[in-house]
Amino acid sequence: MGRLTWQVATVAAITEETPSASTLVLDVAGWSSHLAGQHVDVRLTAPDGYSAQRSYSIASAPTAGSVEITVQRVPDGEVSGYLAGIARPGDQIEIRGPIGGYFVWPPPHGDGGAPVLLVAGGSGIVPLMAMVRARADRTPFRLIYSVRGPGDAIYAPELSRRVRDDRGLDVAYAYTRAAPDGWHGTIGRLDAGRLAADGWPADFRPNVYVCGPTGFVEKVADLLVAAGHEADRIRTERFGPTGGKA
């Protein structure tokens, strides 16, 4: 990969995923692809030279020439407010990436065929969605997706379609505040019972990826270790308490 520098990216398309999250397709000349789970740094520079920089996970499956990010707008977010609200096709921004060789699937040191458990809190779904989209083989995947309510679930229609059409993918939602009509499960934070019911038994030795706000990730990782999962097989990505990444 070599050293990275800032590159110009052109916004090719914008899709609203939820009222507060949008996906941006970025065309980047010379983008040579990436690994599922990696992120990019985005830098915006104002005419007066002031610049602000944030990290965003890549949402798209590895491909050359373009990359997709999904941005959750955070209160007073000077970068997310632009990307998920003001940006329009044709706008140019600067990106640096792809970044990261740790929170990636398949894992860098083999065992890519082991079952995979993905646990997402809120917009922590983004890098995990890249893994779902990158899954071309039949590696068994289970995704547990914790959201406040049904309107906060990013990629819900695509996940429904993939559960129907892709073999070996299961998706379970955990609703922390409000559930859709007809929901028979409990409403509340993910607990050991839900992780056991919707995840893999520890003795299947799954590769586990957990992404979300810091408190969510720490709690889920602790519950998984307590359930017998090896800490070395649990990879985590935390993005702070406010929802916006770094």
Binding site: M1, T5, G97, G100, G101, Y102, F103, G240, T242
Partner: protein
Amino acid sequence: MSSFVDGNALGGVLSEVFAVDLTGARGRCADCGHVAPIGETRVYDRAAGSVARCSGCDAVLVRVVVAPGRIFLDMHGLSFLEIPLENSL
């Protein structure tokens, strides 16, 4: 609670200096001996620079300050780094 992210957030700035990804590198805390990937450290980045702390004992492992035209890197909190060479594209 002071807010932190994780070591994956250091990947970008380190990638401007190093030709291999360091978030997947395992480092040993010089203070308590805990060995973990840089991606699992706790990074506090709301100040002028970024500080990565040990997830075991909270000791400072790495400090990074980006200044115009140069980067200051203090890694005295790590007693070694094991860097995989095959984890990039």
